[in-house]
C-alpha cells in the first residue's frame, strides 16, 4: 500500500500539472477596488474578488481559488447557483445616485440568500435548502439557520439565474431573508477567509472591521454560478464583493479619539463674509467634495501590495481605480503606476508587488464634478395607520424620467402574522402637477403572483408586475391585519417589534438587458405584545404562593388522622362498617384537636 502510494505520487503530480496546463485559462483570480467620492464627503469603495474553477476540478473536489468549505457545501446541497448578501444601512439614492453594480450585488437589510437547487421535487429541494442554510449559517456565523419555511419563498419572476445551467437539471429557486440580522465583524472574518489572499495582501488587506462597520452603508455579497463559454467549457465562478459608503470625516478620526467633540474655535470653517462673523460667532460652511483624504486615513491601514495569486497579466492588471476628475491631483506611493482613462474621470493604478501602496488626495477646489446618473426609479415602503389590530402598507414609486415609463417587478414577502387584504390594493397616481387621481389597481398592475400565507407555516408571497408612467408617482396601498401570537412565539429577549423583509424591485431594462435591482428598507411591525414582565411575574408569584399555601392548608383541613384499624372501618361500605365509621367520627369529635386538626 505504502509502496503503491509512493509510486503513484509522481504520477498524481504529473497529472495535476497536466490538468492545470489545460485549465489554466479558466482558473484564474482577479481583484479590483473602485473608489468613487460621492457628494457630502462620502466615499464609495467597491471591492470585487472574482475567481474561476473549471467544472471538472470542481466536480473532482479539486479546489484552488474556490474555497473548499463553500464548494463542499454546494455539492452536498446540490446547489448550482448561490447568492448570499449581507447588508446594513440605507443607500441614499437622492445624494449618491444609482446603486453600485445596478443593485445586483446587494441585498436587503440583514441577510438575504437565494439559490437554485437541483432536486427532483419541491420537498427534496426544500430539504436541501435547509441543509444549505444550516451549513452556511455555520460557515458565515450568521443566523441563517432561522430561514425556515415561514421565511422561504419561491419567487416566480423576480429572479433569474445569472449562470448558464444545463437543461438536465431540475432547478428550484428558493429565497430567504433575515431582515433583523445584524451584520458585523463575525460575518466579515469568514468572508475574508474565503478569499485566496485571506485579507493579508492585495486590496482585501484594506478591509478592517472597524471601518467597514462604521460605514453609512455596506453590502457584502457572495455569488457562485456556473459560466459556460459558447464552446461548452464550463467554469464555476465565485465572485465576492464588498461595497461600502464611508463618511470621509468620520473615517478620518483616529481610533484613539473617535468622539466627534466640538472642534477648537480656531479650527471652525466659517463663512467669513457674514457681517456678524467674529471670534465667537460663526456661520459654518457646508461640506465640500474637495476635502483631503488618503487610503491610509480612510481605511485605517495601508494596502499591502498585490495579492500574488491574482492574475497580473492581461487586462486586469489595474487593481485600484479612482473616479475623480483628471484635473485633481493624486499622490501615490512609489512603484505604482497611474493610468488615466479617456472618460476624464477614471484613473487606475498598477501596483508594485509586495510594496505597500497608499493614495492621497490633497485638498483642491475642482470645478468639474463626476456626473451622477439619475436613478431609474425611487421606491419607498412604509407602514401607515396606528393601533394594535390593523395597519396599512404604503408603497411609493416615483419615476423621475420625463420620457419613458418604467416596467418592473415588485416582490415582497410578508411574515404570516401580517395578513394583507389584497382586495384593498389601491393605486393613486400623481403627476408633476401634484394632482393625484385614484385609479383601479389593474391599470398599474399588469400581473399578480400571489401566494397567501398559512399560519405558522409559510409567509405571504406577492409579486406584482407594474408599470409607472413617465414623470409620475404611483402610490400603492393595502390594508393588513396583525395576528395575535401565542405567548411562546414572542422572542424571549427585548424586542422593538417584528422585522418585515425589504421588498425587492427588479427593473427590466430593455436597453442593457441586465436587470436593475432596488431594495426598500425593512419595516418594523409592532404586534400587540402583552406586558410580559409585570403581569407574568405577578401571576406566577401569586400562583406559586397560593398553590403552596392552599395545598398545605387544604391538606391539614381535610385530612383525618386515624389509626390503621379505624381506617379500614372508615373505608367499609357495609352497614356495620358505616356504623363503625360513624362511631369513629363521633370519637374524633369528642377527642377534639388531638387527632383532627381544624
Amino acid at each position: 500500500m505504502t509502496v503503491l502510494s509512493l509510486l503513484s505520487l509522481p504520477l498524481v503530480a504529473l497529472l495535476l500539472s497536466f490538468c492545470s496546463s489545460t485549465v489554466v485559462a479558466s482558473s484564474d483570480y482577479h481583484e479590483n477596488l473602485l473608489l468613487h467620492p460621492l457628494p457630502q464627503s462620502a466615499l464609495l469603495a467597491s471591492f470585487n474578488f472574482r475567481s474561476n474553477t473549471s467544472q471538472e476540478s470542481f466536480d473532482q473536489q479539486h479546489f484552488r481559488y474556490l474555497p473548499r468549505a463553500l464548494g463542499q457545501i454546494l455539492q452536498h446541497a446540490q446547489t448550482k447557483e448561490l447568492h448570499l448578501r449581507f447588508t446594513t444601512g440605507r443607500w441614499d439614492a437622492e445624494s449618491w445616485g444609482p446603486r453600485p453594480w445596478n443593485g445586483s450585488k446587494e441585498g436587503g437589510t440583514g441577510v438575504e440568500l437565494w439559490a437554485w437547487i437541483d432536486a427532483p421535487n419541491d420537498d427534496e429541494a426544500f430539504a436541501k435548502w435547509i441543509t444549505l442554510t444550516q451549513s452556511l449559517s455555520g460557515l458565515f456565523c450568521a443566523s441563517l439557520n432561522f430561514v425556515d419555511s415561514t421565511r422561504t419563498t419561491r419567487p416566480v419572476v423576480s429572479f433569474e439565474p445569472f449562470g448558464d445551467h444545463s437543461e438536465v437539471d431540475q432547478l428550484h429557486l428558493l429565497h430567504g431573508t433575515l431582515p433583523g440580522e445584524v451584520v458585523c465583524t463575525e460575518n466579515l472574518t469568514p468572508f475574508l477567509k474565503l478569499l485566496p489572499c485571506k485579507g493579508k495582501a492585495g486590496i482585501s488587506s484594506l478591509l478592517d472591521g472597524h471601518k467597514l462597520f462604521d460605514a453609512a452603508w455596506q453590502s457584502m455579497s457572495v455569488d457562485i454560478q456556473p459560466v459556460c463559454s459558447p464552446e461548452g467549457d464550463c467554469v464555476v465562478q465565485i465572485e465576492q464583493t464588498v461595497d461600502m459608503v464611508l463618511d470621509i470625516d468620520r473615517s478620518k478620526r483616529s481610533r484613539s479619539n473617535p468622539i466627534p467633540r466640538p472642534v477648537p474655535n480656531d479650527e471652525l470653517v466659517c463663512d467669513t463674509s457674514k457681517p456678524y462673523h467674529s471670534g465667537d460667532t460663526c456661520y459654518p460652511l457646508g461640506k465640500t467634495n474637495d476635502k483631503a483624504w488618503s487610503l491610509g486615513q480612510v481605511f485605517g491601514r495601508n494596502l499591502d501590495g498585490i495579492c500574488p495569486l491574482a492574475d497580473t497579466e492581461g487586462s486586469h492588471e489595474e487593481s485600484v481605480c479612482l473616479q475623480v476628475p483628471h484635473e485633481r491631483g493624486v499622490y501615490i506611493s512609489q512603484g505604482a503606476q497611474e493610468i488615466k482613462k479617456d472618460d476624464g474621470f477614471t484613473r487606475c493604478f498598477k501596483l508594485a508587488p509586495s510594496t505597500p501602496f497608499d493614495l492621497s488626495i490633497p485638498q483642491q477646489t475642482v470645478n468639474v464634478e463626476v456626473p451622477l446618473d439619475e436613478p431609474v426609479l425611487h421606491a419607498e415602503r412604509t407602514i401607515v395607520g396606528n393601533g394594535q389590530e390593523r395597519g396599512g402598507m404604503r408603497i411609493i414609486f416615483s419615476n423621475p424620467s420625463n420620457a419613458s415609463a418604467v416596467d418592473f417587478i415588485y416582490f415582497e414577502t410578508l411574515p404570516w402574522f401580517l395578513r394583507p387584504y389584497i382586495h384593498t390594493l389601491r393605486a393613486t397616481i400623481t403627476g408633476r402637477d401634484g394632482v393625484s387621481r385614484e385609479l383601479p389597481a389593474s391599470k398599474i398592475v399588469k400581473e399578480t403572483y400571489y401566494r397567501p400565507a398559512i399560519d405558522r407555516e409559510r409567509g405571504t408571497q406577492l409579486e406584482l408586475s407594474l408599470s409607472v408612467p413617465a414623470a409620475s408617482t404611483v402610490t400603492l396601498t393595502y390594508d393588513f391585519e396583525k395576528a395575535i401570537l401565542r405567548y411562546t412565539e414572542y422572542p424571549p429577549d427585548a424586542n422593538r417589534g417584528f422585522n418585515v423583509a425589504p421588498a425587492v424591485i427588479r427593473i427590466v431594462d430593455n436597453v442593457h438587458h441586465a436587470p436593475i435591482y432596488i431594495r426598500s428598507t425593512s419595516l418594523l411591525l409592532q404586534l400587540p405584545v402583552p406586558d410580559f414582565s409585570m403581569p407574568y411575574n405577578v401571576i406566577i408569584l401569586t400562583s406559586t404562593v397560593i398553590a403552596l399555601a392552599f395545598g398545605t392548608i387544604f391538606n391539614i383541613l381535610i385530612r383525618r388522622v386515624v389509626s390503621l384499624d379505624q381506617a379500614s372501618a372508615l373505608g367499609a361500605t357495609t352497614l356495620k362498617g358505616r356504623i363503625v365509621s360513624k362511631v369513629v367520627a363521633i370519637q374524633d369529635r369528642f377527642r377534639g384537636k388531638a387527632t383532627k386538626v381544624e
Binding site: 440605507r90 468620520r250 471652525l268 457674514k274 460663526c282 457646508g286 422593538r496
Partner: protein
C-alpha cells in the same frame, strides 16, 4: 353575632334597607373618595420615582455639546434674526424666508429636508401653517425607528421660540457627526405649538384630514419625542417639564423620570412641573401640584406641542426654560443630547413603568392602583343609589312603612305587598331621550362660529332653568296626554340616570381619572335628589332653594364661574374646546354634554317635580 342581628334587623325593616342605608352608603363613598384623594400626597401613600427601564441609563454618558458649537449657535441665531427683523418684508415673506433658511441650514448639515402645509378650520377660525422637518438617517440604521425633536416657532404661551429653533438647528448639525445613533432623528420645526405637530403626526400615520398635506419623507416607528422651548433672551434657571397629553393621556413615567434625572442629576439644572416654582415638598405643595395636574388632565386639552404625540402611543414631553439664572442654551442642548442618547439606547418601545400616575413633585408619584379607588368610590356612590332604587321600586311599597301591629301582620303584609310591577317605558324613554338631547349642545358648541359662544352659553343657562321645570310640570300633570307619574316612576327615572352616570364615570376613571373625579364630585348632589313630599309651603320653599343651588352646579354655570374665577373669557375657553374637538380629538365635551348634562337635567326634573 352582632353582625347577624344587624342584618336580620335590616331585613325586617325595609325602610332602613331601601331608603336610609343607600343614602348613608353613598355619602360614605363620597366622603371616603374625597378623603382618599387628600391622603395621596402623604409619604405613606405616594412613592419615590425610579427608572424602570434599565436600557435608558439616564445621565450615564458624557454630553459633549459645548465649546465651538456655541459659536455656530450664535451664527445660526444671527442668521434667523436678520430675516425675522427685516422690516421691509411683510409677514408671509418673512415666513417663507425663514423656512428657506432653515432648509438651507439643514441641507448643508447633510439632512434630508421636507415641508408640509396644513390648514385647519375650527369655530370660524382658520389655522394654517407650514411644517419643516429634516431627518438624520441613523448611520447604520434601516429606517425602522426614530426619535423626534420638535422646536415650535411659537411656544405654548405664544412667545417666539428663537433660541429653541436655533438650538434644534445646531443640534442637528452636531448630531449628524455622531455614528452611534441606532434610530433616525427627526427635527421638526412647527409654526406653533397647537396645530403643527398635530398635522405632522397625523400625516405621519396617514390619518390626516384632506386639508393637511401628506408627508413626502418618512422614517420608521416613532419611539419618543422631545419639545424644546427656550423663548427667553437671557440665561435660565430651571427646566419646566410639561407632560400632559390630549384627553389626559400621559407619557411613560420613565421618560419624565429620565428628563428629571438628567436635568437634575447630570446637568445640575432643577426640574419643575405644573408651574410650581417654589416646591418645598410640603403636604400643601404636593397637593397643589397634584390638583393642578388633575385639572389639566381633566380638561384634556393639549398643553404643548408634545400633547399631539400621545394619542399615537408616542411618549413625549416638553422642556421649557424658566426663570433667570445662569444656565445657557448649551446646558439645554446638553440635556437634550443626553436625553436623546438615553432614548437611543432603548431596545423596545417604552413600556415599563407607568402610563397612569399622578405626580406631586418631580420625584414623587402615585400610581393608578393607589389613586383609582377615590374616583371609583365617587362613581360607585351613584351605582349604589341606582341599584338601591331599582330594588326599592320592585320590592318596597311606596307607602310609609306600616307601624307594626304585631309581627305576624306585618310579615304577612310584607309578603303580599313586596312585589310591585315596574312601569319602565316612560322612565326609560325619558332618560334615553335626555341623553340624546345632549348631542344638541355638543353639536352646537363644536360647529358654530366663535363669536356666538358667549350668547349660546347664556342660552343653555336659560334652558337649564326652564327645561327641568317644564319637564317636571308635564310629567307631574300629564297634560292630559298620559296619567301623572306615580312615585315609582320617579324612582326609576333616577335609578336609570344614576346607573348610567355611575357606569360612565367608573369606565372613564380608568381612562381619564381626573375628569371622572371632577365630574363625579360635581354630580354628587344628584345622588340625593328626589321628589320631595310634605306640606306645600315647606316643600315649595325647599325645592325652590334646592333648584337654585342645583343650578349653581349646572355645566354652563360651572363654566361661567370658573371663567370668572380664572379671569378668562368664556369665548376663549369654548373656542379652545371646539378647536380641541376639531383638531386634537378631545373628548371632554362628550363627557360634559352626554354624561354630566343629562344626569344634571334629570336631577333638576326630580327636584322640580316637587313644586307641581
Amino acid at each position: 353575632m352582632a353582625l347577624k342581628s344587624a342584618i336580620r334587623n335590616l331585613r325586617s325593616n325595609p325602610h332602613l334597607l331601601f331608603v336610609r342605608l343607600p343614602k348613608l352608603l353613598s355619602l360614605l363613598c363620597i366622603v371616603v373618595g374625597v378623603a382618599w384623594l387628600l391622603l395621596l400626597p402623604l409619604n405613606e401613600y405616594s412613592r419615590r420615582t425610579y427608572i424602570s427601564e434599565n436600557a435608558l441609563l439616564p445621565g450615564q454618558v458624557h454630553a459633549y455639546f459645548t465649546g465651538s458649537e456655541q459659536n455656530i449657535f450664535r451664527g445660526y441665531k444671527k442668521e434667523l434674526q436678520a430675516i425675522l427683523n427685516d422690516e421691509t418684508k411683510d409677514k408671509s415673506e418673512v415666513t417663507a424666508g425663514v423656512s428657506d433658511k432653515v432648509q438651507s441650514i439643514f441641507e448643508e448639515a447633510g439632512l434630508k429636508f421636507a415641508r408640509q402645509n396644513y390648514e385647519y378650520n375650527s369655530a370660524g377660525n382658520t389655522h394654517e401653517g407650514e411644517n419643516s422637518y429634516a431627518i438624520i438617517h441613523a448611520p447604520r440604521g434601516d429606517a425602522t425607528e426614530a426619535i423626534v425633536l420638535v422646536a415650535p416657532w411659537l411656544t405654548a404661551d405664544d412667545k417666539l421660540n428663537l433660541n429653541g429653533v436655533t438650538l434644534a438647528l445646531t443640534l442637528a448639525r452636531y448630531f449628524k457627526r455622531w455614528s452611534l445613533w441606532s434610530k433616525d432623528i427627526i427635527f421638526l420645526i412647527t409654526p406653533d405649538s397647537k396645530t403643527g405637530t398635530q398635522a405632522w403626526i397625523d400625516a405621519y400615520h396617514d390619518m390626516h384630514p384632506a386639508s393637511v398635506q401628506p408627508l413626502p419623507l418618512k422614517s420608521g416607528a416613532l419611539q419618543g419625542a422631545l419639545v424644546i422651548e427656550y423663548p427667553l433672551e437671557h440665561r435660565f434657571q430651571t427646566l419646566h417639564i410639561v407632560y400632559d397629553g390630549v384627553n389626559g393621556q400621559l407619557p411613560n413615567l420613565d421618560l419624565f423620570n429620565t428628563a428629571v434625572s438628567i436635568a437634575g442629576g447630570q446637568m445640575g439644572i432643577g426640574a419643575n412641573l405644573q408651574e410650581m416654582w417654589n416646591h418645598d415638598d410640603s403636604y400643601e405643595h404636593r397637593l397643589q401640584t397634584m390638583v393642578r395636574g388633575m385639572t389639566k388632565q381633566g380638561l384634556g386639552y393639549a398643553t404643548g406641542a408634545h400633547s399631539s404625540f400621545m394619542p399615537y402611543h408616542i411618549d413625549a414631553i416638553t422642556l421649557q426654560t424658566k426663570g433667570e439664572g445662569w444656565e445657557d442654551e448649551m446646558a439645554l442642548g446638553r440635556t437634550i443630547e443626553s436625553l436623546c442618547r438615553s432614548l437611543n439606547n432603548l431596545l423596545e418601545h417604552l413600556h415599563q413603568s407607568f402610563f397612569f400616575y399622578l405626580l406631586m413633585q418631580s420625584n414623587r408619584f402615585v400610581s393608578i392602583g393607589t389613586y383609582l379607588p377615590s374616583a371609583m368610590l365617587l362613581a360607585g356612590n351613584f351605582t349604589i343609589m341606582a341599584i338601591a332604587l331599582w330594588m326599592r321600586t320592585g320590592y318596597y311599597p311606596e307607602s310609609k312603612p306600616v307601624q307594626s301591629k304585631g309581627e305576624k301582620a306585618s310579615a304577612e303584609k310584607a309578603k303580599t305587598s313586596n312585589i310591585a310591577e315596574r312601569k319602565l317605558a316612560l322612565p326609560l324613554s325619558l332618560v334615553v331621550g335626555l341623553h340624546l338631547l345632549g348631542l344638541v349642545p355638543l353639536w352646537v358648541f363644536n360647529n358654530i362660529s366663535h363669536q356666538y359662544f358667549t350668547t349660546i352659553t347664556y342660552v343653555v343657562l336659560g334652558v337649564d332653568i326652564i327645561l327641568p321645570l317644564s319637564l317636571a310640570a308635564i310629567l307631574s300633570n300629564g297634560l292630559g296626554l298620559s296619567k301623572p307619574l306615580i312615585p315609582q316612576q320617579y324612582h326609576l327615572i333616577k335609578s336609570f340616570s344614576l346607573l348610567l352616570l355611575g357606569l360612565s364615570l367608573s369606565t372613564l376613571a380608568t381612562l381619564n381619572f381626573s375628569l371622572s373625579f371632577i365630574i363625579g364630585l360635581l354630580c354628587t348632589p344628584l345622588s340625593f335628589m328626589a321628589r320631595l313630599q310634605g306640606p306645600a309651603p315647606a316643600r315649595l320653599a325647599t325645592s325652590g332653594l334646592g333648584l337654585i343651588l342645583l343650578n349653581l352646579l349646572s355645566p354652563p354655570t360651572v363654566l361661567l364661574g370658573v371663567c370668572w374665577y380664572t379671569n378668562v373669557s368664556v369665548e376663549t375657553v369654548l373656542t379652545e374646546a371646539a378647536f380641541g374637538w376639531d383638531v386634537w380629538g378631545m373628548w371632554t365635551q362628550v363627557v360634559v354634554w352626554c354624561v354630566w348634562w343629562p344626569a344634571w337635567l334629570i336631577g333638576g326634573v326630580l327636584l322640580g317635580s316637587s313644586i307641581f
